[in-house]
Amino acid sequence: MTTIKEKFRSLDNEQLQRLTVLLALILLCIFFAFKSPYFLSADNFLLIITQTAVTGITAYGMVFVIISQAVDLSIGSTIAVAGVACAMMISAGIPLPLAILFCILLGAVIGVINGFCVSKMGLPPFVATLGMQMVLRGLALVVTDASPVYVTNSDFFKKIAQGKLFGVIQFPAIYLVVLGIISAFILKKTVIGRHIYAVGSNEDAAKLSGINTAKIRMFAYSYSGIMAAIAGIVLAARVNSGQPTIATGYECNAIAASVIGGASMTGGHGTVSGTILGALVMGILLNGLNLMSVSQNWQTVITGLVVIGAVYMDKLRNAKSGS
């Protein structure tokens, strides 16, 4: 008994946090398994991974921004804009790879503008990206005249989301893994990754250590923009159309995933592996609620509560390690 206790004590904060999330994940699974016999089926497992993909990919970007002690509320709108742009370009006969490349670039540009507003113009991240959220959502509605853009001239487009590797693994799951590895590599192994942690931990100190903090912020935001754009393309491919009203509030899921995964709103903390766990918690929660036929509206309520709860847990963590 004592040895388990000692082992428990020797875990650092981050490991402890990881363990708690894992436990929550298992409890959720047990709960839903009892509620719905379908929950534990292989089909549903693949569905969860696919559903988690969008949350997970956007959360990779979000965690970069959160580590740099900021937040990106424009993610949902970026998803919509990227999806609409992609669908429109394909409908206009532009080759698929080119359309995808352009959308990713668009996401990067949106991110750079966000980063510019925050680091150069000195706007609070909440306000700057909230404004961007409105601008982008508005633009998506304006260019589509508020109606969906259906892709009718390409069979390949929907394959992006609906295709399967070896006829089993859905493509989005692969994106989730590959982008996760890339994100983790950037954060942990590269100079720019370390600099993101430094900026989020103490911006003044980072500046005086010779770090170009504005550049780092713009990078974090453009990474978030790129991830949102990729998620936007995947989502558009899943419904084979560009929907201007899609993904409203998805930034909340991304924040929840990051923070459940151990990222701290006070900056300087967060990992990609934790974020995947967080995204899985969100994915399983929403999937389970679906199976229990809880209405979409109640799901929104629950998501909001989870976000508040997760950020509160983060607050408690900080209070504990602060003194």
Binding site: T190, V191, I192, N202, A205, K207, L208, S209, G210, G268
Partner: protein, 504 residues
């Protein structure tokens, strides 16, 4: 000295893995200034946190004014008559002096609904008079100097009629004349019969103010004695458990050619045509009162603040520095004054703190070579004798001295021509100070030009080859080590021929 007012006995406090206090005794009498000293980590702050209710002791008794005493939190302690004034002041910058003093206990009228401003300012004014402090009660706290803020904190403590005042490093951010004013106030309080607990690293000031001293070491009580029965060497020996023979290590000064020069640096009201010149292997002390513009000059050289005018030369070549990044690239490095605010990454690992200023050295195509970086970190930890359980330790758990060493290590990872140390030993204990001084000397001996900003006069005199003095943004004097003495420098620093300074 009056009767015993506070008695702490056999206080024990444990944190996971560390025994922070074991069987510590501490008593305070009315009308005494009682210094509580010890190296960083000796348990001074922990003991005071137990007293003011931030921590709960595992065992031990506290008696205050003849009764058992237990504070639930600092505010509760204050209401019961024990106030603590921290190094980091806890005032609300946007409110005025009177509002800060009476926060949460504002005098009211109309059945407690409306704040009685007139009465509040009147009572605040009375407190100010009692302490002979010359600050307007309508002044916004943000506009006050550190010294003035500290005095407002003291007034705030008196407003609730505290019997014991704990002053945590009260002079570490003060200039000489401000220290005198503070000491006057402390003497007034002593004469009123208050018990003053005085925590400070500046032992040389004790002569002027301290009645009794209690020494802690590694969380244990060492000894308690009257100051008149001991001296600095005596208590230092008790603090470190060995005797330190010299405060400042010796160095053979061999200044070479001029490595850096700044001329005609101006920025708003804070820098007026200032300039400084440093030779290779030379330590130039930059002295002055608070707000003289020393840190501002350093930040201007480093590119941290934009300047309106100024020429900078490194090895005879003119530089155009726009941001710290440019300065660092040219080998001009700056160790900041406020370690916690803009120096160290408190919640990051030691290894990250050391390598963050030089990551591109261990990276190719932006990807870091873990092995190379780890080796550099291990070398620095060994060479600078940084006391840390491992390179993965979080920086905030290191002592102030070791944090400072980590910051020095950060810059030693780079090639440097000029290093500016801004208050390198502020808040650092005697033992670690000596090591920091040795490091600075070693850096200078390796041919680097060193500028050392310090408000600690003995440190300036003990370390510098040449001393440059600033006042109100201007260079007001320069003396060699041989010519320098405390009086000359103070004279230059207060620049007596300019208008009479407003003394707080």
């Amino acid at each position: 000295m009056g009767e015993i007012i506070l008695e702490m006995k056999n206080i024990c406090k444990e944190f996971p893995g560390v025994k922070a206090l074991s069987d510590v005794d501490f008593t305070v009498r009315r009308g005494e200034v009682h210094a509580l000293i010890g190296e960083n980590g000796a348990g001074k702050s922990t003991l005071m946190k137990v007293l003011t209710g931030i921590y709960r002791a595992e065992s031990g008794t506290i008696r205050f004014k003849g009764k058992d005493f237990l504070a639930r939190n600092p505010r509760d302690a204050q209401e019961q008559g024990i106030s603590i004034i921290h190094q980091e002041l806890n005032l609300l910058p946007d409110l005025n002096v009177a509002e800060n003093i009476f926060i949460t206990r504002e005098p009211t009228k109309a059945a407690g609904c409306i704040v009685d401003d007139k009465k509040m300012h009147q009572r605040a004014g009375e407190l100010m008079n009692r302490l002979s402090i010359n600050i307007k009660t309508t002044e916004t706290v943000e506009n006050l100097s550190v010294a003035q803020k500290q005095m407002v904190e003291i007034a705030k403590a008196l407003a609730v009629d505290s019997d014991i005042l704990v002053l945590d490093e009260p002079t570490s951010a003060l200039a000489e004349n401000e220290v005198n004013t503070l000491f006057e106030i402390i003497r007034t309080l002593r004469n009123e019969g208050k018990g003053i607990v005085y925590i400070s690293h500046r032992l040389e000031e004790f002569e002027r103010i301290v009645d009794r001293v209690t020494v802690l070491r590694d969380g244990t009580y060492v000894d308690s004695m009257l100051w008149k029965d001991t001296d600095i060497d005596g208590v230092v020996t008790l603090m470190v458990g060995r005797s330190i023979t010299e405060q400042y290590p010796k160095r053979e000064a061999k200044p070479g050619e001029v490595v850096f020069e700044a001329r005609h640096v101006s920025r708003g009201k804070v820098l007026k045509d200032a300039g400084i010149c440093v030779r290779r292997g030379e330590v130039v002390g930059l002295a002055g009162l608070m707000g003289a513009g020393r840190t501002e000059l350093a930040r201007a050289i480093f590119g941290a603040d934009p300047v309106e005018a100024g020429e900078f030369y490194l090895n005879g070549e003119q530089l155009h520095i726009k941001r710290p990044y440019d300065a660092i690239k040219r080998g001009m490095l700056y160790l900041t004054e406020d370690r916690k605010k803009d120096g160290i990454f408190l919640d990051m690992e030691v290894s990250m703190n050391i390598t963050i200023g030089s990551l591109p050295y261990y990276a190719s195509h932006n990807v870091i070579h873990e092995k190379k970086a780890r080796k550099v970190v291990a070398d620095q930890i060994r060479e600078l004798r940084i006391k840390t359980p491992s390179e993965r330790q979080i920086a905030k758990f290191l002592s102030g001295g070791n944090q400072q060493k980590v910051l020095i290590a950060r810059w030693l990872c780079r090639k440097a021509d000029l290093i500016i140390f801004d208050e390198p030993t502020r808040g650092i204990d005697v033992g670690a100070r000596y090591e920091i001084y040795s490091l600075i000397n070693k850096i200078a001996e390796s041919g680097v030009g060193v500028i050392m900003i310090s408000s600690d006069m003995p440190e300036i005199l003990g370390m510098s080859d040449r001393i440059v003095v600033m006042c109100e943004g201007r260079i007001t004097g320069e003396v060699t080590r041989e010519e320098a003495d405390q009086e000359t420098i103070l004279h230059m620093a207060s620049n007596t021929h300019t208008r009479k300074r407003e003394v707080v």
